[in-house]
Structure formats: structure tokens, C-alpha cells
């Protein structure tokens, strides 16, 4: 049963949540409202006048091939980031779970990347892969591979994916490890006695029992890839070459602040707002229903 604290009046609870409400209002509701309002206008570049266009910004966006391309880029980018970061994290978690001693040390070490700010992580990876002075690109050169993410679209995408996924592995690892350790050891042993070897056990017991964790991480990582990778992309590729790594969030920035097309930028924000709302609803709906098997 859920435990509820009950208050007598309405004023104390109201007072207690007030700071949170204020912060949300100032930093979320106000700008969100402004974005919705602005998406209905085309302002001139100096912000001196605004022209009412109704849903014109949206109509234009949805028929804009660049915007559609950015959607596809975002989809590819998010899927890759999610798959890479979750895959590596699960692999490490399975290894750490099998350790009896020292798993604490590995856990601590593996948490570190999470503490690195995305922009800093971006710069770090940029240094390693810098076409002229980067360590990794130098080694790749020695191996006869000419690395150049500034010109090559695939390499640019690969690099931002790896840099974004890297910081995420720790977070996923922690959840996967906790999920694995929540599976009773005796269930695994029973399966072993029943004749299941490692892979069979993983496929038929561990993976299904881990599915609530996996699903949770899936949603969280997609949200991350959609919205929180701005710093990485900005520092490494700035959305280039051409538009190869311009994901939706980056396009909001580049169209609005670089291109000064504030109406379109606001409309894009609204679309993103809708997407993140849907993802959040999906997440809560499924997470609330705890039992998945």
C-alpha cells in the first residue's frame, strides 16, 4: 500500500510546492507559452514588428525537405545512441554482475563519464578524433584509414553518436546492474540445474526479467538523444557537414539563433514539445504499471 501523508489545511502543502511551481512557471511555462505564441507569427529580424501567419510556420516546416531530413537524421541518431549506449552498458553490467569481489570499484569507475558535461565530453572526443592532431585519427592514419569527420558525413555521425553514447553508458550501466542484481540468484541457479547454459539463461530468464528496466532505459535514452545531446553536437560538428548531424534540437538553435528565423524556430520548439510530451506520457503509463511479466 502507498503511504500518504495527510495535511489538515490546504495552505501548508501549497506553500511547500510553491517554489517548485514558481521555478517551473518561470523556466518552463513562460518560455513554452512564448514559443507557442511566437510560432504563430513571423517577426522581422530586428524584432520590431510581427506578422500573424496562423499555422503558416507549421505548414511551411512540414513541407520543408530540410526539416524532414532533420527528422530522419534525428531518428537515426537517437536509435544509434540508444542502441550503442544500452548495448555496451548491458554488456558491462552482465560482466560486473558475475564478479563477486570488486564490483563496487568497477561501478565507481564506470560512473565517472556520467559526471562529465556533454560539451566537455564533446571537446574531449573532438581532440581525440581531430583530423590533424587527434590521437585516434593519427592511429587510424597509421592503419591506412583517412579519418575526416569534417568532410565525411558518416564519420561525423559516427563520432557524435559515440560521444553522446559514451556519457550515457554509466547511467544505463547502473540501472542494468541494479536490475540484474534484483533477479534472485536461486532462479538463475535453478535454470542452470534445469540445463540452461549461459546464453539460454540470458535469453529465457534474465532478458525477460530485465524487461522493465530495459523499457525504462529505452524511453529515457531516446529523450536524452533527442534533447540533451546539443552540447556534443555543437562542439564536435555544429550540425555539419552540410546537415548530416543536424538533429531537431540543433535545428531549432541554428534556424533561430544563427538563421534568425524566429517564427520557424518557435514552431519547431512546439513540435519538439509535443514529441517530448508523448514520450513522457508513454513512459509514465508503462512505468506505473510495474509488472511486465
Amino acid at each position: 500500500m502507498e503511504k500518504r501523508v495527510t495535511f489538515k489545511g490546504i495552505w501548508l502543502p501549497l506553500l511547500l510546492v510553491l517554489p517548485q511551481i514558481l521555478i517551473t512557471a518561470v523556466f518552463f511555462f513562460y518560455p513554452a507559452g512564448q514559443a507557442i505564441w511566437q510560432s504563430l507569427f513571423i517577426p522581422d529580424p530586428f524584432g520590431l514588428s510581427m506578422q500573424w501567419v496562423g499555422l503558416g510556420n507549421f505548414e511551411f516546416l512540414l513541407s520543408d525537405p530540410f526539416y524532414r531530413a532533420s527528422f530522419l537524421t534525428t531518428a537515426i541518431f537517437s536509435i544509434l545512441v540508444t542502441v550503442v549506449s544500452m548495448g555496451v552498458a548491458l554488456y558491462l553490467a552482465v560482466l560486473a554482475d558475475r564478479l563477486i569481489k570488486g564490483s563496487g570499484t568497477y561501478r565507481t569507475l564506470l560512473i565517472w563519464p556520467y559526471a562529465v558535461a556533454p560539451a566537455v565530453a564533446g571537446v574531449l572526443w573532438l581532440f581525440m578524433f581531430n583530423t590533424r592532431v587527434g590521437v585516434v585519427s593519427w592511429y587510424l592514419g597509421q592503419l591506412g584509414y583517412d579519418w575526416n569527420h569534417v568532410l565525411n558525413e558518416g564519420e561525423a555521425m559516427g563520432l557524435v553518436v559515440v560521444a553522446s553514447a559514451w556519457g550515457r553508458i554509466s547511467y544505463n550501466f547502473l540501472f542494468f546492474l541494479a536490475g540484474l542484481q534484483a533477479i534472485p540468484k536461486s532462479v538463475i541457479e535453478a535454470a542452470a540445474i534445469d540445463g540452461a547454459r549461459f546464453w539460454t539463461r540470458f535469453r529465457t530468464i534474465v532478458w525477460p526479467l530485465l524487461s522493465p528496466t530495459t523499457f525504462f532505459l529505452l524511453v529515457v535514452n531516446i529523450i536524452y538523444a533527442f534533447f540533451e545531446t546539443f552540447g556534443v553536437i555543437h562542439t564536435i560538428t555544429s550540425g555539419g557537414p552540410q546537415q548530416a548531424t543536424t538533429i531537431l534540437v540543433y535545428k531549432v538553435y541554428s534556424d533561430g539563433f544563427v538563421g534568425q528565423d524566429l517564427g520557424s524556430s518557435a514552431a519547431q520548439s512546439v513540435i519538439l514539445l509535443v514529441i517530448v510530451s508523448i514520450l513522457t506520457v508513454v513512459q509514465f503509463k508503462y512505468i506505473e504499471r510495474r509488472v511486465h511479466y
Binding site: 532462479v187 542452470a192 540445474i193
Partner: protein, 331 residues
């Protein structure tokens, strides 16, 4: 079906020695109960037979083959865990069929074997349910069913009844015994409950801190405990221990079972009556000897109950005396 043999089996976790060398020859179809207090190494011993723990030294043989380095799945055993360890995401049917599916048994045979086991265990109405939709006793039966369908050479049980309430425990105890008789499978059963051990075992291993103090048929062990520990552990209420110096001036300690002591006016020693528990068919009288040791007497309910604070004599027959030396060994 197979014989099972432990030959001086030892186990250490790092520097701590947990099992100090246990040997036993188990006959085909025999029901062996490993009994002892918490932490004495019962589970560890069982898990070495299962292959879930490595054997530090000594040999484990199943069906005449040394299995020290054989994986659990290749030992032809089945195990029932204390917490049942059912697969929570599978139906009762799938729980029981899991091992058979992996062994690539045909669909028809799987279904037939599971049905047979379900019938035997009265689980037929629940085959499509998930474990969380079952009661404790039903889960216990599923765990049994999972072991039965595989027709293993040896059954291993690790305190399978300890999560059940007292009444259900008695009922399941009888069922397990009947089932084992019917199937005739060699079984190793761990419990800390000496009543369970007494009623289930063909022979029992009484463990004390990693040592098998005594191996034998329940009544033999009861009548002739090899050590002071066994005398104190097997039997309820436990054996009374009195300093021999108090009785006949010898060294060591004397053990006498509660049912072998009679209250009288004079006796071998005297003691002060504490309180009495009238249980209906019998009465337990608790007394304190002159050196402060606690003594329990079990007497027929028809006999008069002595009043608190009275001093009574205690007498017993010579043949009921069990003498133990300073190290606890029977003399």
C-alpha cells in the same frame, strides 16, 4: 536413480573453513536428511553436491562417477530451493516444462510428463497461472513438480518447507515422504528442524559447525547420540545436561532425556521447581539444580504437578545415563 557418495568433502571460502570433511555412502533410493543449526554448513554441503559450489577437497560421486568438475546441468540432479526459485514470468506449466524443453524432449512427452506430475501434486487447475498467483503451498508443489518431471537420479532439497506455516508444513512433509517412497529417487534433504529430520529420514547426518557429528537412522541417533551436541540437538525438549561431579563425583557431564527423569522425594540430585507447562497429554516441569543448570522433566499428565519453589528429588535409571567427556564426546 543412483547412489551418491561423499568422500572426505571439504569446503573453504577463502581462509574460512566451512565444511571440515564429510563422508557418507548413500544407497540407491535412500532418503538422507542433513540436519543442524543455522550456519553449520548444510546448504554449502548440498550445493557442492548440486555443483553450485566448488569442492575444495575430497570427492563427490553420483552413480559411481566423480562429478567434482561436472557442471550442475550434467549431474542428473534436481533441486528444490528454500524460496522455490520459480521463474516468475512463466506459467506453472512452463516452469515445469523448462528443463524438458532445453533437453529437447518432444512436445507430446513434455505435456504428458507435466500432466502426470501436476496430477500427482494436485496442480492441474493451476497450470496456466503465474507463480505470483499461487499460494505458498502451491508454489512449493510447483517447485517439486519441476524437480519430478525431469526424472533425475538425485533429488536435493534445501529447507523446502521453511516458508510454510506449521500446519501446511506437516502436511507437505507427509506428501514429500510419500512422493519419495513412490518415486524411489535418492534424496538429500536439508533442514534445521529436527522433527522434520526424525520423520523423513532413512538416515540422517547431524551437522555441527561443518562436521558431521553423527550419521545414522533417526531412532538410533536419538537413542545413542555420539556427542553432547547431538544429544542436545535431537529431541524436544532437549536432553538435560548435569555436571557429573554433582551426581557421582566423576568428571565430564551427564545427559538424561526429559522423559527418563522422575520426580521423587529423594533422588540422585535435588532441584527447585520453577514453572510447569501442562500440555494436555503430558506436563513439562522446569527445575533448577543446585549449580544453577536448567532441568526439564517430561511426565505423564496424570501425575501430580509440583508447586513452584518446592524442592524435589530427581531420579533416573542407570541405562538412561549418557556420559560425555570434556570435549563433548560420548564415553
Amino acid at each position: 536413480m543412483a547412489t551418491l557418495k561423499l568422500d572426505n568433502v571439504k569446503k573453504s571460502f577463502g581462509k574460512t573453513d566451512v565444511i571440515h570433511g564429510v563422508s557418507i555412502d548413500v544407497n540407491d533410493g535412500e532418503f538422507i536428511v542433513i540436519v543442524g543449526p543455522s550456519g553449520c554448513g548444510k546448504s554449502t554441503l548440498l550445493r557442492m553436491v548440486a555443483g553450485l559450489e566448488t569442492v575444495t577437497s575430497g570427492e563427490v560421486q553420483i552413480g559411481g562417477k566423480v562429478v567434482n568438475d561436472v557442471e550442475p546441468m550434467d549431474r542428473d540432479i534436481a533441486m528444490v530451493f528454500q524460496n522455490y526459485a520459480l521463474y516468475p514470468h512463466m506459467s506453472v506449466f512452463d516452469n515445469m516444462a523448462y528443463g524438458l524443453k532445453i533437453a529437447k524432449v518432444s512436445k507430446d512427452e513434455i505435456s504428458e510428463r507435466v500432466q502426470t506430475a501436476a496430477k500427482l501434486l494436485q496442480l492441474e487447475p493451476y497450470l496456466q497461472r503465474k507463480p505470483r498467483e499461487l499460494s505458498g503451498g502451491q508454489r512449493q508443489r510447483v517447485a517439486m513438480g519441476r524437480a519430478i518431471v525431469r526424472k533425475p537420479a538425485v533429488f536435493l532439497f534445501d529447507e523446502p518447507l521453511s516458508n510454510l506455516d506449521a500446519k501446511l508444513r506437516v502436511q507437505m512433509r507427509l506428501e514429500i515422504k510419500a512422493l519419495q517412497r513412490e518415486l524411489g529417487v535418492t534424496s538429500l534433504y536439508v533442514t534445521h528442524d529436527q522433527v522434520e529430520a526424525m520423520t523423513l529420514a532413512d538416515r540422517m547426518i547431524v551437522m555441527n559447525a561443518g562436521v558431521a557429528d553423527q550419521i545414522g537412522a533417526p531412532l538410533d541417533v536419538y537413542a545413542n547420540p555420539a556427542t553432547e551436541f547431538v544429544a542436545g540437538f535431537i529431541g524436544s525438549p532437549p536432553t538435560n545436561f548435569i555436571d557429573a561431579s554433582l551426581v557421582d563425583g566423576q568428571s565430564g557431564r551427564i545427559g538424561v532425556r526429559p522423559e527418563h527423569i522422575e520426580l521423587s522425594d529423594t533422588g540422585r540430585i535435588t532441584a527447585t521447581v520453577g514453572y510447569a507447562e501442562a500440555l494436555g497429554a503430558e506436563t513439562l516441569v522446569h527445575l533448577r539444580a543446585s549449580d544453577g543448570s536448567q532441568i526439564t522433566v517430561r511426565q505423564d499428565a496424570a501425575l501430580p504437578i509440583p508447586g513452584e519453589g518446592e524442592t524435589r528429588g530427581l531420579s533416573w535409571a542407570d541405562e538412561n545415563i549418557m556420559r560425555f567427556d570434556a570435549s563433548g564426546l560420548r564415553q
